[in-house]
Protein backbone atom coordinates (compact mmCIF):
# COMPACT_ATOMS: atom_id res chain seq x y z
CA UNK A 1 0.00 0.00 0.00
CA UNK A 2 1.23 3.46 -0.83
CA UNK A 3 2.40 5.46 2.16
CA UNK A 4 2.22 8.66 0.14
CA UNK A 5 -0.12 9.37 -2.71
CA UNK A 6 -0.48 12.78 -4.39
CA UNK A 7 -2.96 13.57 -7.12
CA UNK A 8 -2.66 16.66 -9.22
CA UNK A 9 -0.98 18.55 -6.38
CA UNK A 10 -0.76 22.31 -6.80
CA UNK A 11 0.85 25.04 -4.76
CA UNK A 12 1.15 28.72 -5.48
CA UNK A 13 2.45 31.59 -3.41
CA UNK A 14 0.76 34.94 -3.27
CA UNK A 15 2.94 37.96 -2.91
CA UNK A 16 1.55 41.46 -3.39
CA UNK A 17 -1.38 39.95 -5.26
CA UNK A 18 0.95 38.31 -7.77
CA UNK A 19 0.39 34.59 -7.92
CA UNK A 20 3.56 32.53 -8.36
CA UNK A 21 2.90 28.85 -9.04
CA UNK A 22 5.45 26.46 -7.53
CA UNK A 23 3.70 23.18 -8.25
CA UNK A 24 1.41 22.82 -11.27
CA UNK A 25 -0.27 19.46 -10.87
CA UNK A 26 2.00 16.70 -9.59
CA UNK A 27 0.87 13.07 -9.19
CA UNK A 28 2.81 10.08 -7.87
CA UNK A 29 2.86 7.38 -5.21
CA UNK A 30 5.61 6.40 -2.78
CA UNK A 31 5.37 2.98 -1.18
CA UNK A 32 6.41 2.11 2.32
CA UNK A 33 10.11 1.26 2.40
CA UNK A 34 11.02 3.13 -0.77
CA UNK A 35 13.98 5.49 -1.11
CA UNK A 36 13.08 8.29 -3.49
CA UNK A 37 15.25 11.19 -4.56
CA UNK A 38 13.62 14.32 -5.91
CA UNK A 39 15.85 16.33 -8.21
CA UNK A 40 15.55 19.54 -10.09
CA UNK A 41 17.14 22.95 -10.51
CA UNK A 42 16.35 25.66 -7.99
CA UNK A 43 12.85 27.02 -8.50
CA UNK A 44 11.62 23.70 -9.86
CA UNK A 45 9.37 23.23 -6.82
CA UNK A 46 11.22 20.33 -5.21
CA UNK A 47 11.50 21.94 -1.77
CA UNK A 48 7.86 23.04 -1.91
CA UNK A 49 6.88 19.47 -2.67
CA UNK A 50 8.91 18.10 0.22
CA UNK A 51 7.42 20.63 2.66
CA UNK A 52 3.90 19.64 1.66
CA UNK A 53 4.76 15.93 1.91
CA UNK A 54 6.26 16.58 5.34
CA UNK A 55 3.17 18.47 6.63
CA UNK A 56 5.23 21.61 7.03
CA UNK A 57 2.99 23.44 4.56
CA UNK A 58 -0.41 22.90 2.97
CA UNK A 59 -1.14 22.55 -0.73
CA UNK A 60 -3.31 25.01 -2.68
CA UNK A 61 -4.97 22.38 -4.84
CA UNK A 62 -5.12 18.66 -5.55
CA UNK A 63 -5.04 15.81 -3.07
CA UNK A 64 -2.42 14.48 -0.68
CA UNK A 65 -3.00 11.19 1.09
CA UNK A 66 -0.60 10.20 3.84
CA UNK A 67 -1.18 6.73 5.27
CA UNK A 68 -4.52 6.64 3.45
CA UNK A 69 -5.86 9.88 4.92
CA UNK A 70 -5.94 13.24 3.12
CA UNK A 71 -4.10 16.12 4.74
CA UNK A 72 -7.28 18.18 4.87
CA UNK A 73 -8.72 15.69 7.34
CA UNK A 74 -6.06 16.58 9.91
CA UNK A 75 -6.32 19.53 12.26
CA UNK A 76 -3.19 21.57 12.97
CA UNK A 77 -2.65 19.73 16.24
CA UNK A 78 -3.06 16.37 14.51
CA UNK A 79 -0.54 17.43 11.87
CA UNK A 80 1.87 18.26 14.68
CA UNK A 81 1.28 14.80 16.15
CA UNK A 82 1.93 13.07 12.81
CA UNK A 83 5.09 15.13 12.27
CA UNK A 84 6.20 14.18 15.75
CA UNK A 85 5.47 10.44 15.61
CA UNK A 86 5.73 9.35 12.00
CA UNK A 87 8.07 11.79 10.27
CA UNK A 88 11.68 12.70 10.72
CA UNK A 89 13.25 15.81 9.16
CA UNK A 90 16.81 16.51 8.12
CA UNK A 91 17.45 20.04 6.88
CA UNK A 92 20.22 21.50 4.79
CA UNK A 93 21.01 24.04 7.53
CA UNK A 94 20.82 21.44 10.34
CA UNK A 95 18.55 23.65 12.50
CA UNK A 96 19.97 22.58 15.84
CA UNK A 97 19.13 24.59 18.94
CA UNK A 98 21.96 27.00 19.71
CA UNK A 99 23.81 26.75 23.02
CA UNK A 100 22.22 23.36 23.63
CA UNK A 101 24.18 20.13 23.89
CA UNK A 102 23.88 17.12 21.58
CA UNK A 103 21.84 15.05 24.02
CA UNK A 104 19.25 17.79 24.59
CA UNK A 105 19.02 18.54 20.87
CA UNK A 106 18.23 14.92 20.15
CA UNK A 107 15.70 14.80 23.00
CA UNK A 108 13.74 17.74 21.57
CA UNK A 109 11.06 15.73 19.67
CA UNK A 110 10.49 13.54 22.76
CA UNK A 111 9.41 16.69 24.62
CA UNK A 112 6.35 16.94 22.40
CA UNK A 113 5.58 13.20 22.38
CA UNK A 114 3.52 10.97 24.62
CA UNK A 115 6.52 8.79 25.41
CA UNK A 116 7.15 8.74 29.19
CA UNK A 117 10.17 10.71 30.32
CA UNK A 118 11.83 7.65 31.87
CA UNK A 119 12.56 6.35 28.37
CA UNK A 120 13.87 9.60 26.86
CA UNK A 121 17.47 9.19 27.89
CA UNK A 122 17.87 5.65 26.50
CA UNK A 123 16.05 6.51 23.25
CA UNK A 124 18.21 9.57 22.71
CA UNK A 125 21.42 7.69 23.53
CA UNK A 126 20.43 4.92 21.12
CA UNK A 127 19.79 7.40 18.31
CA UNK A 128 23.09 9.18 18.97
CA UNK A 129 24.89 5.85 19.02
CA UNK A 130 23.43 4.93 15.63
CA UNK A 131 25.03 8.03 14.03
CA UNK A 132 28.31 7.38 15.84
CA UNK A 133 28.39 10.47 18.08
CA UNK A 134 28.30 8.89 21.53
CA UNK A 135 31.57 10.60 22.36
CA UNK A 136 30.07 14.06 21.74
CA UNK A 137 27.03 13.97 24.08
CA UNK A 138 27.89 17.05 26.11
CA UNK A 139 29.17 19.16 23.22
CA UNK A 140 27.17 22.16 22.10
CA UNK A 141 26.35 22.38 18.40
CA UNK A 142 28.80 25.25 17.91
CA UNK A 143 31.63 22.91 18.97
CA UNK A 144 30.80 20.36 16.26
CA UNK A 145 31.87 20.15 12.63
CA UNK A 146 29.27 20.45 9.87
CA UNK A 147 29.17 16.71 9.30
CA UNK A 148 28.75 16.07 13.02
CA UNK A 149 25.93 18.60 13.20
CA UNK A 150 24.09 16.91 10.41
CA UNK A 151 24.53 13.57 12.15
CA UNK A 152 23.03 15.09 15.32
CA UNK A 153 20.11 16.27 13.17
CA UNK A 154 19.70 12.73 11.82
CA UNK A 155 19.76 11.32 15.35
CA UNK A 156 17.05 13.85 16.25
CA UNK A 157 15.01 12.71 13.25
CA UNK A 158 15.41 9.07 14.34
CA UNK A 159 14.68 9.39 18.03
CA UNK A 160 10.91 9.01 17.56
CA UNK A 161 11.41 5.95 15.34
CA UNK A 162 9.55 7.50 12.38
CA UNK A 163 8.14 5.65 9.37
CA UNK A 164 9.52 8.17 6.94
CA UNK A 165 12.52 10.47 6.79
CA UNK A 166 12.42 13.70 4.77
CA UNK A 167 15.87 15.01 3.92
CA UNK A 168 16.12 18.43 2.29
CA UNK A 169 19.57 18.74 0.65
CA UNK A 170 21.22 17.09 3.67
CA UNK A 171 24.68 17.24 2.08
CA UNK A 172 24.28 20.74 0.62
CA UNK A 173 26.32 22.47 3.31
CA UNK A 174 28.91 19.73 3.77
CA UNK A 175 32.26 18.87 2.22
CA UNK A 176 32.21 15.72 0.13
CA UNK A 177 33.68 13.48 2.80
CA UNK A 178 31.17 14.42 5.52
CA UNK A 179 28.48 14.34 2.85
CA UNK A 180 29.37 10.76 2.10
CA UNK A 181 29.20 9.82 5.77
CA UNK A 182 25.74 11.39 6.01
CA UNK A 183 24.54 9.62 2.85
CA UNK A 184 25.84 6.34 4.22
CA UNK A 185 23.74 6.76 7.32
CA UNK A 186 20.65 7.76 5.32
CA UNK A 187 21.04 4.81 3.01
CA UNK A 188 21.43 2.53 6.02
CA UNK A 189 18.16 3.85 7.46
CA UNK A 190 16.42 2.70 4.31
CA UNK A 191 18.17 -0.58 3.69
CA UNK A 192 18.84 -1.88 7.21
CA UNK A 193 15.85 -0.42 9.04
CA UNK A 194 13.33 -0.38 6.20
CA UNK A 195 12.38 3.28 6.63
CA UNK A 196 10.91 5.23 3.76
CA UNK A 197 13.23 8.05 2.72
CA UNK A 198 12.42 11.07 0.55
CA UNK A 199 15.56 12.98 -0.33
CA UNK A 200 15.93 16.28 -2.12
CA UNK A 201 19.15 17.07 -3.91
CA UNK A 202 20.42 18.71 -7.04
CA UNK A 203 23.48 16.48 -7.30
CA UNK A 204 23.03 13.43 -9.51
CA UNK A 205 25.66 11.55 -7.57
CA UNK A 206 23.82 12.00 -4.27
CA UNK A 207 20.48 11.18 -5.89
CA UNK A 208 21.84 7.90 -7.14
CA UNK A 209 21.90 6.59 -3.57
CA UNK A 210 18.13 6.24 -3.91
CA UNK A 211 16.14 3.51 -5.62
CA UNK A 212 14.16 5.95 -7.68
CA UNK A 213 14.74 9.46 -8.97
CA UNK A 214 11.96 11.90 -9.68
CA UNK A 215 12.96 14.99 -11.67
CA UNK A 216 10.96 18.18 -11.35
CA UNK A 217 10.98 21.08 -13.78
CA UNK A 218 8.86 24.22 -13.44
CA UNK A 219 6.49 22.56 -11.00
CA UNK A 220 5.86 19.46 -13.07
CA UNK A 221 7.36 15.97 -13.02
CA UNK A 222 9.75 15.65 -15.90
CA UNK A 223 10.82 12.07 -15.30
CA UNK A 224 10.38 9.35 -12.70
CA UNK A 225 12.77 6.42 -13.14
CA UNK A 226 14.36 3.58 -11.18
CA UNK A 227 18.10 3.94 -10.54
CA UNK A 228 19.93 1.34 -12.60
CA UNK A 229 23.27 1.43 -10.76
CA UNK A 230 22.94 2.72 -7.16
CA UNK A 231 25.79 4.47 -5.40
CA UNK A 232 26.95 2.78 -2.21
CA UNK A 233 28.56 5.22 0.21
CA UNK A 234 30.21 2.41 2.12
CA UNK A 235 32.19 1.43 -0.97
CA UNK A 236 33.28 5.02 -1.50
CA UNK A 237 34.36 5.43 2.08
CA UNK A 238 36.69 2.43 1.95
Amino acid sequence: MALIEVKNLEKSYRDDNVETPALRGVSFKIDSGEFVAIMGPSGSGKSTLLHILGFLDRQSGGQYLFDGKTINQYSDDELAKVRNEKMGFVFQTFNLLARTNVLDNVKLPLLYSSIPESKWESLALQAIESVGLSHRLAHESSQLSGGERQRVAIARALVMNPKIIFADEPTGNLDSKSGQAVMEIIQGLNEKEGRTVVLITHETYTAEHAQRIMKLMDGRIESDVKVAKRQKSTEFMK
Binding site: D57, R58, D77, K81, R99, S113
Partner: protein, 412 residues
Protein backbone atom coordinates in the same frame (compact mmCIF):
# COMPACT_ATOMS: atom_id res chain seq x y z
CA UNK B 1 3.84 18.40 27.05
CA UNK B 2 3.55 18.42 30.84
CA UNK B 3 3.83 21.61 32.85
CA UNK B 4 7.13 20.44 34.30
CA UNK B 5 8.59 20.13 30.83
CA UNK B 6 7.24 23.50 29.79
CA UNK B 7 8.98 24.92 32.83
CA UNK B 8 12.24 23.14 32.03
CA UNK B 9 12.06 24.20 28.38
CA UNK B 10 11.43 27.83 29.31
CA UNK B 11 14.26 27.81 31.82
CA UNK B 12 16.71 26.31 29.35
CA UNK B 13 15.49 28.82 26.75
CA UNK B 14 16.32 31.64 29.14
CA UNK B 15 19.66 30.07 30.02
CA UNK B 16 20.58 29.57 26.37
CA UNK B 17 20.11 33.32 25.84
CA UNK B 18 21.74 34.55 29.03
CA UNK B 19 22.72 38.06 28.01
CA UNK B 20 19.34 38.76 26.43
CA UNK B 21 17.53 37.44 29.49
CA UNK B 22 19.71 39.56 31.74
CA UNK B 23 19.05 42.68 29.65
CA UNK B 24 15.31 42.11 29.83
CA UNK B 25 15.47 41.58 33.57
CA UNK B 26 17.63 44.68 33.92
CA UNK B 27 15.04 46.77 32.08
CA UNK B 28 12.33 45.61 34.43
CA UNK B 29 14.54 46.05 37.50
CA UNK B 30 15.36 49.64 36.59
CA UNK B 31 11.74 50.53 35.89
CA UNK B 32 10.44 49.10 39.15
CA UNK B 33 13.33 50.40 41.25
CA UNK B 34 12.79 53.91 39.88
CA UNK B 35 9.10 53.89 40.66
CA UNK B 36 9.54 52.57 44.18
CA UNK B 37 12.34 55.02 44.91
CA UNK B 38 10.44 58.03 43.60
CA UNK B 39 7.25 57.09 45.40
CA UNK B 40 9.06 56.30 48.66
CA UNK B 41 10.76 59.69 48.61
CA UNK B 42 7.47 61.40 47.81
CA UNK B 43 5.70 59.64 50.64
CA UNK B 44 8.55 60.37 53.03
CA UNK B 45 8.46 64.08 52.19
CA UNK B 46 4.73 64.24 52.70
CA UNK B 47 4.92 62.39 55.99
CA UNK B 48 7.64 64.76 57.13
CA UNK B 49 5.60 67.87 56.33
CA UNK B 50 2.44 66.46 57.89
CA UNK B 51 4.43 65.34 60.92
CA UNK B 52 5.74 68.87 61.41
CA UNK B 53 2.20 70.15 61.36
CA UNK B 54 0.91 67.63 63.84
CA UNK B 55 3.67 68.59 66.24
CA UNK B 56 1.63 71.66 67.13
CA UNK B 57 -1.71 69.96 67.62
CA UNK B 58 -4.91 70.74 65.82
CA UNK B 59 -6.41 72.81 68.64
CA UNK B 60 -3.71 75.43 68.35
CA UNK B 61 -4.59 78.93 67.17
CA UNK B 62 -2.01 81.63 66.58
CA UNK B 63 -2.85 85.32 66.79
CA UNK B 64 -0.43 87.41 64.73
CA UNK B 65 -0.17 91.20 64.91
CA UNK B 66 -0.47 93.32 61.75
CA UNK B 67 -2.46 93.00 58.57
CA UNK B 68 -2.64 89.58 57.03
CA UNK B 69 -0.03 89.50 54.26
CA UNK B 70 -1.66 89.01 50.87
CA UNK B 71 1.61 88.14 49.18
CA UNK B 72 5.32 87.60 49.77
CA UNK B 73 6.02 91.35 49.46
CA UNK B 74 3.66 92.05 52.34
CA UNK B 75 5.92 90.54 54.99
CA UNK B 76 6.75 93.87 56.59
CA UNK B 77 3.15 94.22 57.70
CA UNK B 78 3.63 91.52 60.29
CA UNK B 79 6.07 93.66 62.26
CA UNK B 80 3.46 95.39 64.23
CA UNK B 81 2.87 96.27 67.87
CA UNK B 82 -0.89 95.86 67.80
CA UNK B 83 -1.10 93.05 70.40
CA UNK B 84 -0.94 94.56 73.90
CA UNK B 85 -1.31 93.46 77.52
CA UNK B 86 -4.86 94.81 77.48
CA UNK B 87 -5.73 92.40 74.65
CA UNK B 88 -4.28 89.51 76.64
CA UNK B 89 -6.38 90.42 79.67
CA UNK B 90 -9.54 90.69 77.57
CA UNK B 91 -8.95 87.35 75.84
CA UNK B 92 -8.39 85.64 79.20
CA UNK B 93 -11.84 86.65 80.39
CA UNK B 94 -14.26 83.73 80.23
CA UNK B 95 -17.16 85.92 79.05
CA UNK B 96 -15.21 87.05 75.98
CA UNK B 97 -13.81 83.70 74.83
CA UNK B 98 -15.66 80.94 76.72
CA UNK B 99 -14.03 78.08 74.79
CA UNK B 100 -10.48 79.22 75.44
CA UNK B 101 -8.30 76.46 76.90
CA UNK B 102 -4.93 78.13 77.24
CA UNK B 103 -3.44 81.36 76.03
CA UNK B 104 0.27 82.04 75.98
CA UNK B 105 1.71 85.41 74.99
CA UNK B 106 5.00 85.13 73.13
CA UNK B 107 7.82 87.52 72.31
CA UNK B 108 10.89 86.54 70.40
CA UNK B 109 14.00 87.86 68.73
CA UNK B 110 17.59 87.01 68.01
CA UNK B 111 20.33 88.07 70.41
CA UNK B 112 23.85 87.16 71.31
CA UNK B 113 24.24 85.28 74.55
CA UNK B 114 27.60 84.89 76.20
CA UNK B 115 29.15 82.82 78.96
CA UNK B 116 32.65 83.86 79.93
CA UNK B 117 34.50 84.01 76.59
CA UNK B 118 31.97 81.89 74.65
CA UNK B 119 29.20 83.49 72.62
CA UNK B 120 26.27 82.11 70.67
CA UNK B 121 23.35 83.63 68.79
CA UNK B 122 20.20 81.70 69.64
CA UNK B 123 16.56 82.60 69.19
CA UNK B 124 15.37 84.24 72.40
CA UNK B 125 11.87 83.12 73.21
CA UNK B 126 9.77 84.85 75.86
CA UNK B 127 6.90 82.65 77.01
CA UNK B 128 4.97 81.27 79.98
CA UNK B 129 5.20 77.81 81.60
CA UNK B 130 2.39 76.76 79.21
CA UNK B 131 5.07 76.29 76.54
CA UNK B 132 5.61 72.83 78.06
CA UNK B 133 1.99 71.81 77.51
CA UNK B 134 1.62 73.33 74.08
CA UNK B 135 4.84 72.06 72.52
CA UNK B 136 5.20 68.97 74.69
CA UNK B 137 8.68 69.99 75.76
CA UNK B 138 10.13 69.56 79.24
CA UNK B 139 13.45 70.27 80.90
CA UNK B 140 15.95 67.43 80.79
CA UNK B 141 17.99 68.95 83.60
CA UNK B 142 16.72 71.41 86.20
CA UNK B 143 13.25 72.89 85.73
CA UNK B 144 11.14 75.28 83.72
CA UNK B 145 10.27 78.66 85.17
CA UNK B 146 6.86 78.90 86.87
CA UNK B 147 4.07 81.50 87.02
CA UNK B 148 5.77 83.28 89.93
CA UNK B 149 8.91 83.70 87.83
CA UNK B 150 6.74 85.23 85.11
CA UNK B 151 5.00 87.61 87.51
CA UNK B 152 8.26 88.59 89.20
CA UNK B 153 10.20 89.06 85.92
CA UNK B 154 12.73 86.60 87.27
CA UNK B 155 16.15 86.64 85.61
CA UNK B 156 16.08 82.93 84.80
CA UNK B 157 16.58 81.09 81.56
CA UNK B 158 16.04 77.59 80.13
CA UNK B 159 18.48 76.78 77.34
CA UNK B 160 18.37 74.43 74.37
CA UNK B 161 20.79 71.55 74.01
CA UNK B 162 22.79 73.16 71.19
CA UNK B 163 23.10 76.42 73.14
CA UNK B 164 24.38 74.45 76.11
CA UNK B 165 26.90 72.62 73.98
CA UNK B 166 28.22 75.80 72.37
CA UNK B 167 28.50 77.81 75.59
CA UNK B 168 29.35 75.23 78.23
CA UNK B 169 30.53 72.12 76.41
CA UNK B 170 30.28 69.22 78.80
CA UNK B 171 30.51 71.20 82.03
CA UNK B 172 27.71 71.70 84.54
CA UNK B 173 25.37 74.57 83.73
CA UNK B 174 22.63 74.75 86.35
CA UNK B 175 23.05 77.91 88.40
CA UNK B 176 25.57 79.44 85.99
CA UNK B 177 24.94 82.94 84.71
CA UNK B 178 24.77 83.85 81.02
CA UNK B 179 24.69 87.39 79.65
CA UNK B 180 22.36 88.87 77.09
CA UNK B 181 22.45 92.63 76.38
CA UNK B 182 24.23 93.19 79.66
CA UNK B 183 21.60 91.33 81.64
CA UNK B 184 22.69 88.36 83.72
CA UNK B 185 20.32 85.39 83.62
CA UNK B 186 20.60 82.28 85.76
CA UNK B 187 20.33 78.96 83.92
CA UNK B 188 17.66 76.87 85.66
CA UNK B 189 17.00 74.20 83.04
CA UNK B 190 18.27 72.49 79.90
CA UNK B 191 16.00 71.18 77.17
CA UNK B 192 16.48 67.71 75.69
CA UNK B 193 17.75 67.51 72.15
CA UNK B 194 14.62 67.26 70.04
CA UNK B 195 15.52 68.56 66.62
CA UNK B 196 12.93 70.48 64.70
CA UNK B 197 9.46 70.56 66.32
CA UNK B 198 6.79 72.19 64.20
CA UNK B 199 8.90 74.99 62.67
CA UNK B 200 10.75 75.68 65.91
CA UNK B 201 14.20 74.40 66.63
CA UNK B 202 14.21 74.30 70.40
CA UNK B 203 17.80 73.06 70.40
CA UNK B 204 18.98 76.51 69.29
CA UNK B 205 16.69 78.49 71.56
CA UNK B 206 16.77 80.04 75.00
CA UNK B 207 13.49 80.47 76.79
CA UNK B 208 12.83 83.17 79.39
CA UNK B 209 9.65 84.44 81.10
CA UNK B 210 7.98 86.77 78.59
CA UNK B 211 7.84 89.52 81.17
CA UNK B 212 11.61 89.34 81.58
CA UNK B 213 12.10 89.38 77.81
CA UNK B 214 9.77 92.38 77.31
CA UNK B 215 11.23 94.45 80.10
CA UNK B 216 14.96 93.67 80.16
CA UNK B 217 15.88 92.16 76.79
CA UNK B 218 13.71 93.74 74.11
CA UNK B 219 12.32 96.79 75.87
CA UNK B 220 8.85 96.46 74.36
CA UNK B 221 5.29 96.52 75.69
CA UNK B 222 3.62 94.46 72.97
CA UNK B 223 3.60 90.79 71.99
CA UNK B 224 4.78 89.01 68.85
CA UNK B 225 2.17 86.25 69.09
CA UNK B 226 -0.62 84.89 71.18
CA UNK B 227 -0.61 81.13 71.05
CA UNK B 228 -4.06 79.89 71.99
CA UNK B 229 -5.42 76.42 72.50
CA UNK B 230 -9.15 75.86 72.22
CA UNK B 231 -10.66 73.59 74.85
CA UNK B 232 -11.56 71.01 72.19
CA UNK B 233 -11.10 70.29 68.47
CA UNK B 234 -14.73 71.15 67.74
CA UNK B 235 -14.59 74.57 69.35
CA UNK B 236 -11.68 75.89 67.26
CA UNK B 237 -13.88 77.90 64.88
CA UNK B 238 -15.94 79.41 67.67
CA UNK B 239 -12.78 80.32 69.56
CA UNK B 240 -11.36 82.01 66.45
CA UNK B 241 -14.44 84.17 65.93
CA UNK B 242 -14.59 85.07 69.64
CA UNK B 243 -10.92 86.09 69.56
CA UNK B 244 -11.52 88.25 66.47
CA UNK B 245 -14.56 89.95 68.00
CA UNK B 246 -12.79 90.60 71.29
CA UNK B 247 -9.73 92.08 69.57
CA UNK B 248 -11.85 94.22 67.19
CA UNK B 249 -13.75 95.62 70.18
CA UNK B 250 -10.51 96.28 71.98
CA UNK B 251 -8.97 98.00 68.92
CA UNK B 252 -12.19 99.82 67.95
CA UNK B 253 -12.34 98.15 64.53
CA UNK B 254 -15.73 97.87 62.80
CA UNK B 255 -14.59 96.96 59.31
CA UNK B 256 -12.98 93.45 59.31
CA UNK B 257 -10.86 94.40 56.27
CA UNK B 258 -9.06 96.93 58.48
CA UNK B 259 -8.01 94.33 61.08
CA UNK B 260 -4.59 95.05 62.56
CA UNK B 261 -4.14 91.40 63.48
CA UNK B 262 -4.95 88.02 62.00
CA UNK B 263 -5.62 84.56 63.26
CA UNK B 264 -4.09 81.38 61.94
CA UNK B 265 -5.28 77.93 62.79
CA UNK B 266 -3.61 74.62 62.18
CA UNK B 267 -6.16 74.11 59.42
CA UNK B 268 -5.08 77.28 57.60
CA UNK B 269 -1.44 76.24 57.76
CA UNK B 270 -2.30 72.74 56.61
CA UNK B 271 -4.28 74.19 53.72
CA UNK B 272 -1.46 76.41 52.51
CA UNK B 273 1.04 73.58 52.87
CA UNK B 274 -1.43 71.24 51.21
CA UNK B 275 -0.92 73.12 47.95
CA UNK B 276 2.81 72.57 48.20
CA UNK B 277 2.54 68.89 49.00
CA UNK B 278 0.04 68.41 46.18
CA UNK B 279 2.46 69.99 43.73
CA UNK B 280 5.31 67.83 45.06
CA UNK B 281 3.17 64.73 44.80
CA UNK B 282 2.13 65.57 41.25
CA UNK B 283 5.72 66.20 40.25
CA UNK B 284 6.92 62.94 41.75
CA UNK B 285 4.04 61.00 40.27
CA UNK B 286 4.80 62.29 36.80
CA UNK B 287 8.47 61.38 37.25
CA UNK B 288 7.36 57.90 38.33
CA UNK B 289 5.03 57.66 35.35
CA UNK B 290 7.82 58.64 32.98
CA UNK B 291 10.17 56.05 34.43
CA UNK B 292 7.40 53.48 34.13
CA UNK B 293 6.91 54.37 30.47
CA UNK B 294 10.64 54.26 29.81
CA UNK B 295 10.96 50.93 31.60
CA UNK B 296 7.94 49.63 29.70
CA UNK B 297 9.38 50.61 26.34
CA UNK B 298 12.64 48.87 27.28
CA UNK B 299 10.80 45.68 28.16
CA UNK B 300 8.69 45.98 25.02
CA UNK B 301 11.69 46.33 22.73
CA UNK B 302 13.71 43.50 24.15
CA UNK B 303 10.72 41.17 24.22
CA UNK B 304 9.79 42.00 20.63
CA UNK B 305 13.34 41.52 19.43
CA UNK B 306 14.00 38.34 21.35
CA UNK B 307 10.82 36.59 20.31
CA UNK B 308 11.04 37.69 16.68
CA UNK B 309 14.64 36.51 16.64
CA UNK B 310 13.45 33.10 17.71
CA UNK B 311 10.89 32.64 14.95
CA UNK B 312 13.20 30.06 13.42
CA UNK B 313 13.36 28.14 16.67
CA UNK B 314 9.56 28.21 16.82
CA UNK B 315 9.44 26.79 13.28
CA UNK B 316 11.84 24.00 14.23
CA UNK B 317 9.87 23.10 17.34
CA UNK B 318 6.68 22.98 15.27
CA UNK B 319 8.35 20.81 12.62
CA UNK B 320 9.36 18.38 15.36
CA UNK B 321 5.81 18.11 16.67
CA UNK B 322 5.14 21.10 18.95
CA UNK B 323 1.56 22.37 18.81
CA UNK B 324 0.63 26.07 18.88
CA UNK B 325 -0.32 25.65 22.51
CA UNK B 326 3.07 24.16 23.36
CA UNK B 327 4.82 27.16 21.81
CA UNK B 328 2.58 29.73 23.48
CA UNK B 329 2.88 28.17 26.94
CA UNK B 330 6.65 28.12 26.60
CA UNK B 331 6.86 31.80 25.69
CA UNK B 332 4.21 32.77 28.23
CA UNK B 333 6.22 31.09 30.95
CA UNK B 334 9.46 32.66 29.77
CA UNK B 335 7.83 36.09 29.92
CA UNK B 336 6.42 35.37 33.38
CA UNK B 337 9.80 34.18 34.64
CA UNK B 338 11.58 37.25 33.24
CA UNK B 339 9.11 39.79 34.61
CA UNK B 340 8.80 37.87 37.87
CA UNK B 341 12.54 37.74 38.52
CA UNK B 342 12.98 41.34 37.36
CA UNK B 343 10.05 42.45 39.48
CA UNK B 344 11.30 40.82 42.66
CA UNK B 345 14.83 42.13 42.21
CA UNK B 346 13.40 45.58 41.42
CA UNK B 347 11.24 45.59 44.54
CA UNK B 348 14.15 44.49 46.72
CA UNK B 349 16.48 47.05 45.17
CA UNK B 350 13.88 49.83 45.33
CA UNK B 351 13.11 49.08 48.97
CA UNK B 352 16.80 48.90 49.83
CA UNK B 353 17.63 52.18 48.09
CA UNK B 354 14.69 54.06 49.61
CA UNK B 355 15.70 52.77 53.03
CA UNK B 356 19.22 54.01 52.34
CA UNK B 357 17.86 57.41 51.27
CA UNK B 358 15.77 57.74 54.42
CA UNK B 359 18.76 56.68 56.51
CA UNK B 360 21.10 59.19 54.86
CA UNK B 361 18.56 62.02 55.05
CA UNK B 362 17.88 61.31 58.70
CA UNK B 363 21.61 61.37 59.49
CA UNK B 364 22.69 64.18 57.18
CA UNK B 365 19.81 66.63 57.63
CA UNK B 366 18.83 65.56 61.14
CA UNK B 367 15.21 65.44 60.08
CA UNK B 368 12.72 62.88 61.17
CA UNK B 369 12.45 61.13 57.78
CA UNK B 370 10.50 57.92 58.23
CA UNK B 371 11.14 55.04 55.83
CA UNK B 372 7.94 53.94 54.18
CA UNK B 373 7.62 51.26 51.53
CA UNK B 374 5.22 52.30 48.74
CA UNK B 375 3.21 49.11 48.23
CA UNK B 376 1.12 50.90 45.60
CA UNK B 377 4.24 51.77 43.62
CA UNK B 378 5.57 48.23 43.87
CA UNK B 379 2.28 46.72 42.72
CA UNK B 380 1.86 49.28 39.96
CA UNK B 381 5.40 48.75 38.66
CA UNK B 382 5.11 44.99 38.87
CA UNK B 383 1.69 44.98 37.23
CA UNK B 384 2.64 47.28 34.38
CA UNK B 385 5.91 45.50 33.59
CA UNK B 386 4.22 42.09 33.80
CA UNK B 387 1.46 43.19 31.43
CA UNK B 388 3.93 44.75 29.00
CA UNK B 389 6.20 41.71 29.22
CA UNK B 390 3.30 39.37 28.56
CA UNK B 391 1.81 41.35 25.70
CA UNK B 392 5.09 41.92 23.88
CA UNK B 393 6.39 38.45 24.69
CA UNK B 394 3.22 36.68 23.66
CA UNK B 395 2.09 38.70 20.65
CA UNK B 396 5.11 37.94 18.40
CA UNK B 397 5.20 34.36 19.72
CA UNK B 398 1.56 33.95 18.71
CA UNK B 399 2.27 35.38 15.28
CA UNK B 400 5.16 32.95 14.86
CA UNK B 401 3.24 29.98 16.24
CA UNK B 402 0.42 30.56 13.75
CA UNK B 403 2.72 30.55 10.76
CA UNK B 404 3.21 27.26 8.95
CA UNK B 405 6.34 25.55 10.31
CA UNK B 406 8.24 26.14 7.07
CA UNK B 407 7.42 29.86 7.00
CA UNK B 408 8.74 30.20 10.52
CA UNK B 409 11.79 28.06 9.77
CA UNK B 410 12.68 30.19 6.77
CA UNK B 411 12.30 33.46 8.69
CA UNK B 412 15.48 35.48 8.60
Amino acid sequence: MTLRHVFKTSLSGLKANKSRSLLTILGIVIGITAIILVMAIGQGAQNLILGELQGMGSKTIVVVPGKQPSGPSDVAQTFSDSLKQRDLDLLQRKENVPTLGHIMPVVFGGDTVSYQAETYRPTVFGATPLISTIFNIYAKQGRFFNDDDVKGRADVVVIGSEVKKQLFGESDVLGQKVRIKGVNLTVIGVLPSKGQVSFFDFDKMIIVPYTTAQQYLFGIKYFNRFIVQADSDSSVERTVSDIKNTLRNSHNITDPTKDDFFVETQKDIAASLGVITTVITMLLTSVAAISLVVGGIGIMNIMLVSVTERTKEIGLRKALGATQKDILTQFLLEAILLTGIGGLVGIALGAGLSFLVSFVLTKALAVNWAFSFPINGALLGLGVSAIIGLIFGLYPARLAARKSPIEALRYE
